[in-house]
């Protein structure tokens, strides 16, 4: 069971470059299918621009609805990239190899999609430039107020997006060189230009490895800050019950890691099935990822319990009315139960069993459940709190998501998957260099009569 197949460089090139160099027809069909939903989302956005934000189901005091829930959700998913890529790289975990680029690419497209949501939300999105320093000054005669978390947000998100995109690009260079050497014509010229003349000498490889470590260490603090800043959009506000809690920052970050890693596991399962990559995305990888998920889920649950308990701690009527709404009134009570079951109580006990951890289908579906639960978590944080925003009950409102919002939310999933698939079409989603390095470093140690899998470790 601890045996793994030995793969040559030629085999690795052939298998992992198949989606790029020899794309199957069903792939294009899938992209076309997803494009329909993505286009619908763009159409819904165009409708909202044309008819105004009244087409959303928002109304006082619920001025943030599904779009903001979705925004926070996708920012959360984007945290998978750094979690898997950076932390596991720094920890020298061998099992990170197939997951790193998939996680980073998911990050880029999830974050890009998330960044579109404030745009959807703006009444006059063509005036977005007013929110940036020069535009604001020339257009409105004043600079953006840097004291506001709504200015911290774009700073953090653009930093994270830029950093991760460039990180992916930099570590892609050796693989682009492989594509350069295996393609012809226009494609060869394109990959040749993008690989910047990579030759693969010791210096270049050494710097690639150092870059991996150094950038991981630099991006990690950014990763922590991004979702913390998103959480402070809510937490610094004193007017809304349930939001003014000091724990929001790490709670959101750990929740993001929870949903993000679950998202990556789902993507890895899909990639394994689509391209028959059983030799590269092995059962061991799912086993290790599931054990990581247990740790993350338990940590997340602790934060959730503290946050939830602190809602009752001050024993004050406004917050108690919010919690009553969350726990006892439809549809929030149902959402709460589904959230609790899907984000923790179903998946985590299942993951304790080795058979489940090594079953790709079960891992896929439990991770889908986690993401359903985590979407509902953000829903339960944002909407009931706004519904009970004011102490005076005549100001209590309600919210019904409109069809436009539903199309935008559904379309956002299509946009992210479409982005990832587009990447898969042009670039290898499993790093070739990592896979080859794994083969070089893999070895065995004899202990008695047993050969135990081992790895060389460079200090």
């Amino acid at each position: 069971m601890q045996q793994r197949p030995t793969l040559t460089e030629i085999q690795i090139n052939r298998d992992l470059l198949r989606p790029v160099l020899d794309t199957p027809m069903w792939f294009y069909g899938l992209m076309a299918f997803l494009s329909i939903f993505a286009a619908s989302a763009m159409g819904a956005f165009a409708w909202a621009i044309n008819h105004g934000t009244g087409v959303y189901g928002l109304n006082r005091p619920v001025m943030w609805g599904f779009l903001l829930v979705n925004f926070v959700f996708w920012v959360g998913i984007s945290h998978a990239g750094v979690m898997l890529s950076a932390i596991l790289r720094l920890a020298n975990a061998e099992w990170r190899r197939p997951a790193t680029r998939a996680a980073e690419v998911l990050t880029v497209f999830a974050l890009g999609t998330a960044a579109m949501h404030p745009l959807f939300h703006l009444g006059r999105p063509w005036r977005l430039y007013w929110s940036m320093p020069p535009g604001y000054d020339f257009g409105r005669g004043i600079w953006p107020d840097i004291r506001s978390p709504f200015v911290w947000d774009p700073t953090a998100i653009s930093t994270y997006l830029t950093s991760t995109a460039l990180f992916v690009g930099l570590l892609l260079i050796p693989d682009l060189a492989v594509l350069r050497d295996h393609s012809s014509g226009m494609r060869q010229r394109m990959y040749s230009a993008m690989s910047l003349g990579w030759r693969g000498n010791t210096r270049q490889w050494k710097l690639q490895i150092i870059a991996g470590f150094l950038l991981s260490a630099l991006i990690l603090p950014v990763f922590v800050s991004v979702h913390s800043i998103v959480s402070w959009d809510f937490a610094v506000q004193i007017a809304v019950e349930g939001w003014n809690a000091t724990i929001f920052a790490p709670y959101f970050v750990i929740g993001a890691v929870h949903s993000g890693v679950a998202g990556v596991i789902s993507i890895l399962a899909l990639l394994r099935w689509m391209f028959k990559w059983e030799n590269y995305i092995r059962d061991d990888h799912f086993d290790a990822l599931a054990r990581l998920m247990i740790v993350v889920a338990v940590a997340w649950f602790y934060f959730f319990i503290i946050e939830f308990m602190m809602g009752f701690y001050p024993n004050e009527e406004p917050e108690l009315s919010l919690r009553t709404l969350q726990l006892t009134q439809w549809p929030f009570n149902a959402a709460f139960i589904i959230f609790a079951l899907t984000s923790f109580f179903i998946p985590v006990p299942l993951w304790l069993f080795r058979k489940v951890r090594r079953n790709v289908a079960l891992m896929f579906w439990t991770c889908v459940l986690v993401n359903i639960g985590m979407w509902l978590e953000r829903f339960l944080i944002i909407i009931p709190s706004l519904m009970r925003k004011q102490v005076l009950t005549f100001n209590w409102g309600s919210y019904n998501p409109s069809p436009i919002e539903l199309i935008l939310v559904g379309g956002s999933f299509a946009m992210v998957f479409l982005g990832v698939l587009t990447f898969v079409k042009f670039f290898p989603i499993i790093p070739l260099a990592d896979a080859k390095e794994g083969e070089i470093m893999a070895t065995e140690i004899r202990v008695g009569k047993v050969m135990v899998p081992a790895a060389y470790r460079e200090e």
Binding site: T8, E9, I10, N13, P133, D137, I142, W143, P144, D145, I146, R147, S148, V151, W152, T155, A156, T159, T162, S163, L166, F167, L170, I173, A177, V178, R180, D181, H182, L196, G197, W198, R199, G200, N201, T202, R203, Q204, W205, K206, L207, Q208, I209, I210, A211, L214, L215, L218, I219, P221, V222, S225, I229, L432, A433, K436, E437, I440, Y456, E458
Partner: protein, 164 residues
């Protein structure tokens, strides 16, 4: 350049190069071998300077932007001071990290001696697992190097004038 299909042949050839006083050779591989696996020289670099410089630059720009915009229109919002340090710190933090990361990436590309217009002595089979050993023949004696490579079972030997 000698091109070798088997890693051990390349290692042997590298040993022979060193025995013959040619220890300044370049190893081209399609996958990252640990540095020194072929007995080659350690590559020195100054990559660590780049993130520090970038961080300092990013921090300075962020402080300038945040302090400057607050002072340009000194309006008290939410009873916070005109120069509100905590938000300035948050944006300065992001600026510092962005500066460090951008300059690290530029630094890696620069220190890798990229971009390179021409590949020079190279073979596409390197990305299929072949190992390339590139060396400058002493006194232009390419025949000696050619013989050395062939004796070590090189699949192919490519020659190019220095400076090409």
């Amino acid at each position: 350049m000698g091109l070798f299909k088997e890693v051990d042949d390349a290692v042997e050839a590298a040993d022979k190069l060193k025995e013959n006083g040619m220890d300044d050779f370049e190893v081209l591989t399609g996958s990252p071998y640990p540095e020194g696996a072929f007995g080659e020289k350690v590559a020195n670099h100054r990559l660590y300077v780049w993130p520090l410089v970038g961080a300092a630059l990013g921090f300075s720009i962020a402080i300038l932007v945040t302090a400057g915009t607050q002072l340009a229109y000194p309006i008290v919002t939410g009873s916070k001071p005109i120069l509100a340090l905590p938000p300035m710190f948050i944006i300065a933090y992001e600026g510092t990290m962005l500066g460090a990361i951008l300059s690290t990436i530029i630094g890696v590309i620069f220190e890798s001696r990229l971009p390179r217009a021409k590949l020079g002595l190279y073979d596409p089979r390197i990305t299929e697992g072949y190992i390339g050993l590139v060396v400058v023949a002493p006194d232009g004696d390419t025949d000696r190097v050619d013989a050395l490579f062939k004796a070590a079972n090189a699949t192919d030997v490519k020659l190019e004038p220095v400076g090409a």
